[in-house]
């Protein structure tokens, strides 16, 4: 696209009020090609030529070379750099050399597997390579499963299916497994925290079963940009891995704009709606024939922005309304396929998507991406930005912040974003809770041998001893045999989400299912009287049946949508242990985290105002887990107050920092733990940290033991943070508590008090008392009063008064 021309045009329109707050240019990069030695089989080279690929980029050459010589590889290059080819080439050339070879492709989602099957199908057919490939997931009908097992040379599936479907039935897969030449594991940056720790164990199980059938496959992994791709891949796959990161793909110039909606009041506190601003920009891009993807954080926002965009486009030409579509989780698979297809063909000019399209679904060349609101991580932002621009063509990415303290911080500190390395991916395959699940599954699949167990982490022998006590395994002649009941892999859900999925049924259209929603979100989004948005149309929720797990809706024509309000409370159920830590008390035990959606607000489209409220009568959702809490002594609060600051604000800031710091000590992802401040179970406010997993996974317990180290790290983090009043890297949390809400329709909140947090931490760690900065009038407070209008001074009187002043000065 012609970015410069577009921007010039936009900037002379009435609409432009100086929104461009920052412009960052990513320069052009020329393509660098390499040669394969030995060259590709002629047939494959010809096929590639047919798809327009004559030469390979240097990273593709390096990956292919290593994989073909049997070395495991992780490919970490930019979006649209041809990562898929890095593993498809060795797999396809392997199939030409040995038509009986097998490859297993693992993707984090079913949609990605289906998308990649379509890519592979380009190489099949009478003129191509003769091989069978298919997706194998929970939706695969039983009738096709057998055929896939027997015939598929390339099987595309997900780790969940490998864990619960393939590995426990390995005898049925013996033929496939014994010929396994390559294992492809795509998008490994998504395998972080609890989920990633599970996957690491599943990969070890795959490895031993494949070895049992005599196969030693080569692993090809790919990852989006993260801080530690090599380390992460090695931990995940349990082997040394060659990192291929030298990106040889060409890149056109990319303009990365920070586009701040203009202020609309004199006090410059209120800004124009970011959702409307986004719709406005998407409209302009579409009218300029620029295919655009907008990324939003919440499903409801994708619907709202689509609605606004359609209205704006409809004013130009009624038929254009249909050229923009929402894309998000919860749509039926066929609906999603249709949107992807229309996007690919160019029929759809814009898509307003949640991060569902952040992963590598191939939707063709998009020219512009609009990021509405900070996605919560640097890595994610770059992923979304990378969706715009293919090849040498010029591309545009526009970040539109919300008028929230964190988003506004980013706009005023672009160096924070552009200078910061993306996040680390952390996993802990040896976590005893997770390891136990896989020792059970593994022993069921094949007796565990001593030399295997020795590589499974320090706790493995003790866990097996415990399992033997419980009569689940038996150690016999050097091996542990499964002696328990049932199928242990069925007891484990790799993903930390409730398996309950609600269907959304349109009662007025023959009870047709129009979408699905997970249980937690169902309570917040399809409670009775809610307005559910689907394809930008409004549906009224008549009933939420929590037994049948169905939301009954009907189309309705209203000019508002709803946003629920959920209160989260943490409560101590049982204190298991407690200790004095310096001046504070630290406790560990069972806690329950209760979320109650108790009311909702009606928001008029196009405004951010509530036009009404309603009550929700829903049962609370309770997470029973393990937690650690720190109860500060009263004198700490007194000290914070002496400085004119609010202790609760400091504790809140501290709790945000703990969520950033603790994962490094307890080996999890920041999303695997929750932190909060609450005084319900203690005499005074306490800081809580809990495992976001039923029953707990040991994170809080570790944090209890490491409280000194963690608090010291929290202090260091805040002290060394260069920001003045707190930022997303320290006391501000980059992830909002209810990420499924429209950020415009709720309370804006503020970044908690950095100085108060420092006072508290210095006291906790018994350092020299911290002297905070003097309390400033926060800029966010009410605007200064305007000057009052009185009676004008008569001109003569003005002269007299000025003369009087002059006289005084001379004196």
């Amino acid at each position: 696209m012609e970015v410069t021309k577009f921007l010039k045009k936009v900037q002379v329109e009435d609409f432009y009020k100086g929104q461009i707050a920052h412009k960052h240019t990513i320069p052009t990069r020329a393509a660098r090609f390499g040669d394969l030695d030995p060259p590709l089989p002629e047939k494959l080279a010809k096929l590639l030529k047919g798809t327009g690929i004559e030469k390979l980029y240097v990273h593709q050459v390096e990956a292919v070379k290593n994989l073909r010589s049997g070395k495991d590889v992780v490919i970490v290059t930019s979006t649209a750099s041809g990562k898929t080819l890095c593993y498809n080439i060795p797999v396809l050339s392997g199939l030409i050399e040995d038509p009986e070879a097998r490859a297993l492709y693992l993707f984090p989602t079913k949609a990605l597997a289906q998308d990649q099957l379509r890519v592979l199908q380009r190489y099949m057919g009478p003129k191509g390579i003769r091989f069978e490939a298919g997706t194998y997931d929970g939706d695969t009908p039983a009738s096709s499963r057998r055929k896939l097992r027997e015939e598929a040379k390339v099987l595309l599936t997900n780790p969940d299916m490998l864990h619960s479907g393939i590995l426990p039935n390995h005898a049925k897969w013996a033929n496939f497994l014994s010929r396994l030449q390559y294992v492809v594991i795509d998008e490994i940056h998504t395998y972080r925290g609890i989920f990633g720790s599970h996957i690491a164990n599943v990969m070890r199980r795959l490895d031993r079963i494949a070895a049992h059938y005599g196969a030693h496959p080569v692993f090809a992994a790919s990852s989006a940009t993260i801080a530690n791709p090599g380390e992460h891949a090695e931990k995940l796959l349990g082997r040394k891995i060659k990192v291929v990161a030298e990106d040889g793909s060409p890149r056109g110039r990319k303009q990365f704009l920070f586009w701040n909606p203009p202020t609309i009041d004199i006090g410059e506190m209120e800004r124009r709606s970011s959702n409307i601003e986004a719709a406005e920009l998407v409209t302009k891009l579409v009218l300029d024939d620029v295919q655009t993807i907008a990324f939003v954080r919440a499903r409801v926002v994708s619907e709202v922005i689509t609605r606004y965009t359609r209205e704006m486009l409809g004013k130009h030409r009624a038929s254009m309304k249909d050229s923009v579509h929402p894309y998000r989780g919860g749509y039926l698979p066929e609906e999603r396929r249709e949107i992807e297809r229309r996007l690919f063909s160019g029929d759809l000019k814009a898509v307003i998507s949640t991060n569902a399209l952040e992963l590598g679904i191939d939707v063709g060349a998009l020219h512009a991406s609009v990021i509405v609101g900070y996605p919560g991580s640097i890595a994610s932002t770059w992923q979304q930005a990378g969706r715009a621009g293919r090849g040498k063509e010029e591309a545009l990415t526009i970040f539109i912040p919300y008028n929230t303290p964190l988003d506004q911080y980013l706009v005023s500190h672009p160096e924070y974003f552009f200078g910061k390395s993306p996040e680390n991916a952390i996993i802990d395959p040896g976590n005893p809770h997770i390891l136990m699940a896989h020792l059970r599954s593994g022993a069921f699949e094949l007796p565990l041998e001593v030399k295997e167990v020795e590589t499974m982490g320090e706790f493995a022998p003790a866990i097996l001893e415990l399992l033997e006590d419980e009569h689940e395994v038996k150690f016999l002649k050097g091996k542990w045999y499964w002696t328990g009941k049932g199928y242990p892999s069925a007891d484990v859900n790799l993903r930390n989400i409730s398996p309950n999925v609600y269907t959304i049924v349109n009662e007025k259209d023959g009870a047709k299912v129009i979408g699905t929603i997970d249980e937690t979100s169902a309570f917040q989004q399809v409670h009775p009287q809610a307005i559910y948005l689907h394809e930008a149309e409004t549906y009224f929720v008549n009933k939420l049946d929590t037994d049948k797990k169905v939301a009954f809706v009907e189309p309705t024509n209203v000019d508002y949508y709803t946003q629920s309000i959920t209160e989260v409370q943490v409560k101590v159920d049982r204190e298991e242990k407690a200790k004095d830590w310096r001046i504070s008390k630290v406790c560990f035990g069972d806690v329950s985290v209760t979320s109650l959606t108790f009311m909702f607000r009606k928001i008029k489209f196009g405004s951010r105002d509530s036009i009404g409220y309603g009550k929700c009568d829903l049962p609370p959702q309770i997470l029973e887990t393990a937690g650690v809490w720190v109860v500060p002594p009263q004198e700490v609060f007194a000290e914070v107050r002496r400085h004119g600051r609010v202790p609760g604000e400091g504790l809140l800031g501290l709790s945000n920092v703990l969520r950033e710091v603790t994962p490094l000590y307890v080996m999890c992802d920041p999303l695997d733990i929750g932190t909060t401040v609450n005084s319900r179970s203690t005499d005074s406010p306490a800081v809580y940290l809990y495992d976001k997993y039923p029953g707990g996974l040991g994170f809080s317990l570790k944090a209890y033991d490491l409280v000194e180290e963690i608090m010291a790290a929290a202090l260091e983090l805040i002290m060394t943070c260069p920001c003045s009043h707190g930022c997303p890297s320290c006391v501000g949390s980059p992830i909002p508590p209810f990420s499924q809400l429209d950020p415009e329709a709720g309370a804006k909140g503020m970044i908690p008090d950095k100085e108060a947090a420092l006072v508290i931490l210095h006291a906790f760690l018994q350092k020299e008392p911290y002297m905070p900065k003097a309390v400033e009038r926060a800029r966010n407070e009410a605007p200064a009063p305007e000057r009052p209008k009185g009676k004008a001074l008569p001109i003569e009187l003005q002269g007299k008064l000025r003369a009087e002043l002059r006289k005084k000065r001379v004196k």
Partner: protein, 293 residues
């Protein structure tokens, strides 16, 4: 220490005697009058763990680098009237009569078969899929100079590690037979064996013909029995009701307990349960192929 060991030996000796007494009381067990608890069952609460050899006499059998426990016996040693029902069975196979109903068609190969090449098979496992099996029960006619004799041949894994040898021995034995007779073996026993053999990575040659009596029973018995479970058919056609038999669902746990404690008290029940299943299959074939049916 030494004295204590002698004591145990003595105790075992006594137990064995006691058990043999029970055996002799229960001989003559197969016919309609059979007490279902079986030959070894119902020995009362044991005072100490039972050794396998003691409750189920058999032989540790080395094979292909491993070993397993083989319980090989003439049927007449188990059931005094075995000679009679075996004769009836041979007569049913040999006579020219064949029932007209189409449901019997699957039994046709048995008519032409040489009885020594027909093998009845039933397995006991530790689960419904992908768990080790521990007992392969076989029943076949063995030809000897003094006439044909019915043999019960049970291959028992004394722990999970012996499964492979049991299966290897089975793979060695099966080619002797032309026809395999099972009850639900098409969907359960044979796929199960195939799966376990695959896990142990060796080939298995199956007899060319497989007669699954469950399919025959479904076709020919129809609504005459409330269901087509083997024990229902056993009660209906053989007039035998099992008393004190170990329920199939309890067998996996009983075996796990045996492996853990080495106390064989329940294994006699399991072995006998397996024998009753085998003999019932043979008697069903007799009934189906006899003129009077």
């Amino acid at each position: 220490m030494g004295e204590r060991q002698i004591d145990i030996k003595k105790e075992l000796e006594e137990l064995k005697k006691k058990a043999e007494g029970v055996f002799s009381r229960h001989r003559g067990a197969a016919g309609p009058s059979v007490p279902g608890a079986g030959l070894f069952g119902d020995l009362g609460e044991p005072r100490s763990p039972r050794a396998l050899q003691e409750v189920v006499p058999g032989e540790a059998t080395p094979f292909a680098g491993g070993a397993f426990y083989r319980v090989l016996a003439g049927a007449d040693a188990v059931w005094p009237d075995a000679g009679t029902f075996h004769r009836e069975y041979l007569e049913a196979l040999g006579n020219p009569f064949f029932p007209a109903a189409p449901g019997f068609a699957a039994l046709k190969p048995l008519k032409a078969a040489c009885p020594e090449r027909v093998c009845y098979l039933d397995i006991e496992t530790t689960g419904l899929r992908m768990s080790p099996l521990f007992l392969v029960g076989l029943m076949y006619t063995s030809a000897r100079e003094d006439g044909a004799r019915l043999v019960v041949d049970q291959l028992f894994a004394r722990d999970y590690s012996e499964e492979e040898t049991v299966l290897r021995f089975l793979a060695d034995l099966l080619p002797r037979f032309d026809i395999l007779v099972t009850f639900n073996g098409i969907s359960f026993d044979m796929p199960y064996i195939q799966e376990r053999v695959t896990v142990h990575r060796f080939p298995l040659a199956k007899p060319p013909t497989h007669v699954d009596l469950l399919l025959v029973a479904r076709a020919v018995v129809g609504g005459r029995t409330p269901n087509h479970r083997l024990q229902t058919l056993e009660a209906h056609f053989c007039g035998r009701k099992r008393v004190g038999d170990i329920p199939g669902a309890e067998i996996p746990q009983a075996y796990h307990d045996f492996v853990r404690t080495r106390d064989a008290k329940d294994m006699a029940n399991v072995i006998h349960h397996n024998r009753l299943d085998l003999v019932t299959m043979l008697q069903l074939v007799t009934v189906f192929l006899s003129r009077e049916s």
